[in-house]
């Protein structure tokens, strides 16, 4: 379906759009963000100005941005999808050339007052691009090899650039996110089976490449894999993050140590306590109950996205919504899996909770697209 097929009269216009906004989604996003404010206040030792306040301001900007994006008709976004993707790709390339180094990785781009992380932008751009591609593609060709190769390249080119930064976490998210959109779009199971087999082979290859001159990933990434497999082997060195995170998590117990009472996080035993590892503080201070509550909030966000997508007969809207939801899922699932020791440590923040410059605004922008799809769905 294209906008030409819409019965324009049934699509809300002007201020009436406010009534059609997916309000439960906004409430849930705000609730998750509020948890984030609380935790940022706590890890800053009860100071609001350090992390919580900038985060609140960013959230406000993000919500306004989300509504603005949401009020723009979805067909506009579909038409600019390719542009968004190419723009993000150009920025990624620019980062590789002029980017600013931070913590040993080149991820940032300074554009005037804004410090931009193009890889964040690419997560949304890729989902938009793939959704637009599959909307354009005749569904009968979906599983034809040539038509599978094109989205594969669309995914792998930015992934390659991100890996070069190097940012393994984002690379995994891009591949997985793009793959999920392809999966939803209906690409044959066989391809996925093949890819999984290939990935297994690749993992083997990567591990084999260690120490050779064609080594595929960085040493620090190897070490992270090592410590993931056996965190106890070096509890004060590379395994420190994992050990301390699990101590924080476990010591929270059923009900937690109480707000601002987490010893692990407040006493700096935790690394990156306000960004990637903020979940440990939540789990330490509010225990299993708090952790499950946040997980439930995330699950509800997914649920409302899925519900919106299910009810949407527009292929682009549905694919986009699933894609955004899947990216969001990957964010928090990878982060939580990493902290609970189910996955090696990769730098993935907890969406809407971790302190992060562009990540939150871009994520809310992505939910703006979901809102646009929701508001402008064919009725």
């Amino acid at each position: 379906m294209s906008y030409l097929e819409y019965n324009v009269k049934t699509v809300p216009a002007g201020l009436r759009k406010v009534l059609y906004v997916n309000w439960p989604l906004i409430v849930l996003l705000t609730a998750v963000a509020a948890v984030g404010f609380l935790m940022l206040y706590s890890v800053a030792g009860g100071r609001i100005g350090v992390w919580a306040e900038p985060q609140m301001k960013r959230f406000a900007v993000g919500i306004v941005g989300m509504l603005m994006i949401g009020f723009v008709p979805i067909w506009f976004w579909r038409n600019v999808s390719a542009l968004a993707y190419l723009g993000a790709l150009a920025l990624l390339a620019a980062v590789a050339l002029f980017g600013e180094e931070g913590k040993g990785a080149q991820r940032w781009l300074d554009i005037g007052p804004v410090r931009l992380q193009p890889s964040e932008l690419m997560k949304v751009g890729l989902v938009m691009m793939l959704a637009a591609y599959y909307d354009w593609l005749d569904i009968r060709r979906t599983s034809r090899p040539l038509w599978v190769l094109i989205p594969l390249l669309l995914i792998l080119v930015p992934t390659f650039l991100v890996l070069k930064q190097p940012d393994l976490g984002t690379a995994i998210l891009l591949v997985a996110g793009g793959g999920i959109v392809m999966f939803i779009a209906g690409v044959s199971w066989w391809y996925f089976g093949t890819v999984i087999a290939l990935v297994a082979g690749l993992v083997f290859g990567v591990l084999e490449s260690r120490g050779t001159d064609w080594q595929l990933i960085e040493d620090y990434q190897f070490r992270r894999i090592d410590t993931f497999l056996d965190p106890g082997s070096d509890p004060l060195g590379a395994g420190y993050n994992i050990s301390q995170a699990q101590i924080a998590l476990g010591s929270g117990g059923w009900g937690g140590k109480g707000f601002m009472q987490g010893t692990q996080s407040r006493l700096n035993f935790l690394p990156e306590k306000h960004t990637d590892f903020i979940f440990t503080t939540l789990a330490e201070e509010f225990g299993f109950v708090g952790a499950i509550s946040l997980l439930s909030l995330y699950a509800l966000i997914l649920f409302f996205c899925f519900a919106s997508a299910m009810a949407n007969r527009d292929r682009y809207s549905a694919l986009l919504t699933y894609g955004v939801a899947a990216t969001f899922f990957l964010f928090f699932a990878v982060n939580m899996a990493m902290i609970t020791g189910l996955m090696p440590v990769v730098g993935v923040p907890l969406p809407l909770v971790s302190y992060g410059g562009t990540a939150m605004i871009i994520l809310l922008g992505a939910f703006g697209l979901v809102q646009s799809a929701h508001i402008h769905r064919p009725r």
Binding site: I184, L267, N268, A299
Partner: protein, 647 residues
């Protein structure tokens, strides 16, 4: 693109199907996450909680304040003063050398200080604070505190450090504290964790060492939360330790000060005791040293100066010194003879200047002889021949038994270092010690307190007190511990015949009150403070025949270390004794000239509770005495109403 309705339906159906699969997979992943959290947070919570506590909670010891030592009136003898010190924690410092060199620009640090710090850092855990500089001035302390940001790992601390306000006056009796050494640790079987604190101060000698258990107190603990770098974030709880017990001694700090000043630079010792309670009012050894030097950490040259000094300032001669008591032993022999019934007090012995034993002559100090001597006169003039005679009649075993009854050859349990037992020799002892039989000549020598007999100044003071009272007075140094009086039973009687005692006392009174008495020049003219006394001069060695041939016949002509010891014992007031004093001046020459005047001054000071009226002294001596008094470096007079103010 525009699709046919069939395609559109097919698309929606396919998307819906795949979405169900995706949603299912996501739900499964979330379930796995939830189960994992449950596993960590519920099933293994206790284990992790323990780990978290170990991570962040540390126990630090709070060193207790060391118990104060007071004099009998509550004046402070040993206290604690605030001590500013600088410590370095190697781990926080990072570049230790750079930090130390920056610190050295702020503080007057000696190369030894720096060397010692480096050694300690190398030896101990990098997380332990090491003291760089101790007892620094407030100015230096604040200079470091202000520059703290430029000195990572450097901490300024205020601790307590031992201080002896009277310095050298009580150095021997109190001893001193010092940082616990590895040697101490190896020697002590003491599990007290306090000893593990670097440079924790423990008693090293004297009362500080002997009363360590009471003075140390119990460590408090502080549970603190530290962050990952070991910095203290907050205190969780604090169990204050118990400060060490306050110990009240029997000493009188003013008298102690006076005695020390009066002994001056001589190598001497003096003991002042209360004749009925046995309370030691003053116990001094001279020359002395400043115990604060040891607390601070004594330097090599300072220490060498003390150990190489021929007057041995570090030795506590008052209890460690064992001297032949010389003529001060004659009361023992007299009492032994009277009790044995081998002589009556009014019986006389003829002195012709010597007595012969076989082919050996035993000389009296007065070569012309004293003529007929009864007991009183023999004491008064210290006739040796009389005592050769009665010692021989009594026999060494009975003499020594009497010596022990009066305290010589007995170890008194005082909390001081190396308290000497002295020696009251008898036949068994000589057999055991030398494998030789006792000779009559040994008895004769013992009869005048020479030969094998040895007594410490403390024992001589106790002997005087026992003769003065007839009671088995025990010396004591500690009056109260932690506010609880140390029980002192009234001393039992010695069981000596009161007539015999009176005869001996009569002789002692004559010594310093009769014109012919050996200590007449040390008499007291004030009737209420008259002394009973006995002089003693004990030979370090005989003047050799070679020396005699060179014309050396007088003590003063000998080198200092070979001159006689001068001894003096006394109690007063003669009619109602309160105080007993013993004075030994090593290599001082005659007891009457070197020790007597000192003992008299001390006695009068003790009786008067301050400087005695000059009228107590014979008129002819008053000018000299007053001049001597002015020259003494004494404490400033007590402020009115004061006394406890310093405690």
């Amino acid at each position: 693109m525009r699709r046919s309705p069939r395609d559109a339906q097919e698309s929606a159906r396919r998307i819906g199907r795949r979405a169900m699969v995706l949603g299912g997979a996501q739900a499964a992943a979330m379930a796995v996450l939830a189960l994992r959290m449950r596993h960590l947070q519920v099933d293994q919570a206790d284990q992790f909680r323990l780990l978290a506590d170990e991570n962040s909670i540390k126990i630090r010891l709070l060193p207790p304040a060391r118990g104060l030592i007071l004099d009998r009136n509550g004046a402070l003898l040993a206290g604690n003063e605030q001590n500013y010190r600088i410590t370095i924690t190697a781990e926080d410092a990072g570049d230790v050398e750079a930090v130390l060199s920056r610190l050295a620009r702020l503080l007057p640090l000696t190369p030894e200080d720096l060397e010692r710090t480096r050694r300690e850092i190398a030896r101990r855990s990098p997380t332990l604070p090491i003291t760089v500089a101790d007892r620094i001035s407030w100015a230096d302390f604040s200079a470091v505190a202000v520059n703290a940001p430029a000195l990572p790992g450097i901490t300024t601390e205020v601790g307590l450090s031992r201080a002896y306000p009277l310095g050298a006056d009580l150095a021997h009796v109190l001893g001193y504290v010092g940082p616990v050494s590895d040697y101490d640790l190896s020697k002590l079987d003491d599990p007290d964790p306090l000893l593990q604190i670097p440079r924790f101060q423990i008693g090293k000698v004297g009362a500080e060492a002997r009363l360590e258990a009471e003075l140390r107190g119990r460590a408090g603990t502080r549970r603190i939360e530290v962050n990952a770098t070991g910095r203290v974030m907050r205190e969780l709880d604090r169990k204050d330790g118990e400060p060490g017990a306050v110990i009240q001694t029997t000493l009188d700090h003013r008298l102690q000060n006076y005695v020390q000043a009066r002994l001056g630079a001589d190598s001497a010792a003096a003991v002042v005791i209360d004749v009925t309670s046995g309370d030691i009012l003053a116990i001094n050894s001279a020359p002395s040293f400043d115990p604060n030097m040891f607390v601070r950490g004594i330097s090599g040259p300072e220490y060498r100066a003390l150990t190489e000094h021929d007057h041995r300032p570090l030795a506590d001669k008052s209890v460690q010194g064992a001297y032949p008591p010389g003529s001060t032993f004659k009361m023992v022999v007299a009492l032994a003879a009277l009790e044995a019934g081998v002589i009556r007090a009014d019986e006389t012995v003829y002195c012709r200047g010597f007595t012969e034993l076989g082919n050996r002559r035993f000389h009296c100090w007065k070569s012309g002889g004293h003529g007929h001597m009864d007991m009183t006169r023999s004491l008064e003039q210290s006739c040796d021949v009389y005592y050769y005679e009665i010692a021989q009649r009594t026999g060494i075993d009975r003499v020594s038994a009497m010596a022990r009854r009066l305290g010589i050859g007995m170890r008194f349990d005082l909390p001081m270092s190396a308290v000497s037992e002295g020696l009251a020799p008898d036949r068994d002892w000589k057999q055991r010690k030398y494998g030789k039989g006792w000779l009559v000549g040994d008895t004769l020598n013992a009869g005048i307190g020479q030969g094998f007999v040895l007594a410490s100044p403390l024992q001589l003071a106790v002997m005087s007190a026992r003769i003065a009272t007839g009671l088995a007075v025990e010396p004591r140094l500690i009056r109260a511990i932690g506010g609880a009086e140390v029980a002192a039973a009234p001393p039992p009687s010695l069981g000596l015949n009161e007539d015999h005692l009176r005869a001996v006392r009569r002789g002692m009174i004559q010594v310093s009150n009769s014109q012919r008495g050996t200590a007449y020049s040390s008499r007291v003219v004030d009737e209420t403070m008259r002394m009973a006394a006995k002089t003693g001069t004990s030979q370090v060695r005989n003047i050799s025949a070679a020396e005699r041939a060179r014309g050396v016949t007088r003590n003063e002509q000998l080198p200092w270390e070979r001159r006689d010891h001068a001894l003096f014992v006394c109690y007063a007031p003669a009619e109602a004794p309160r105080i007993a004093v013993s004075v030994v001046v090593e290599h001082g020459g005659g007891g009457s000239t070197a020790a007597g005047p000192v003992a008299r001054d001390i006695m009068l000071q003790a009786l008067a509770g301050g400087l005695p009226p000059i009228e107590a002294y014979p008129e002819s001596q008053r000018n000299r005495i007053e001049a001597e008094r002015r020259a003494l470096p004494l404490l400033p007079p007590e402020p009115p109403g004061g006394g406890k103010s310093r405690a």
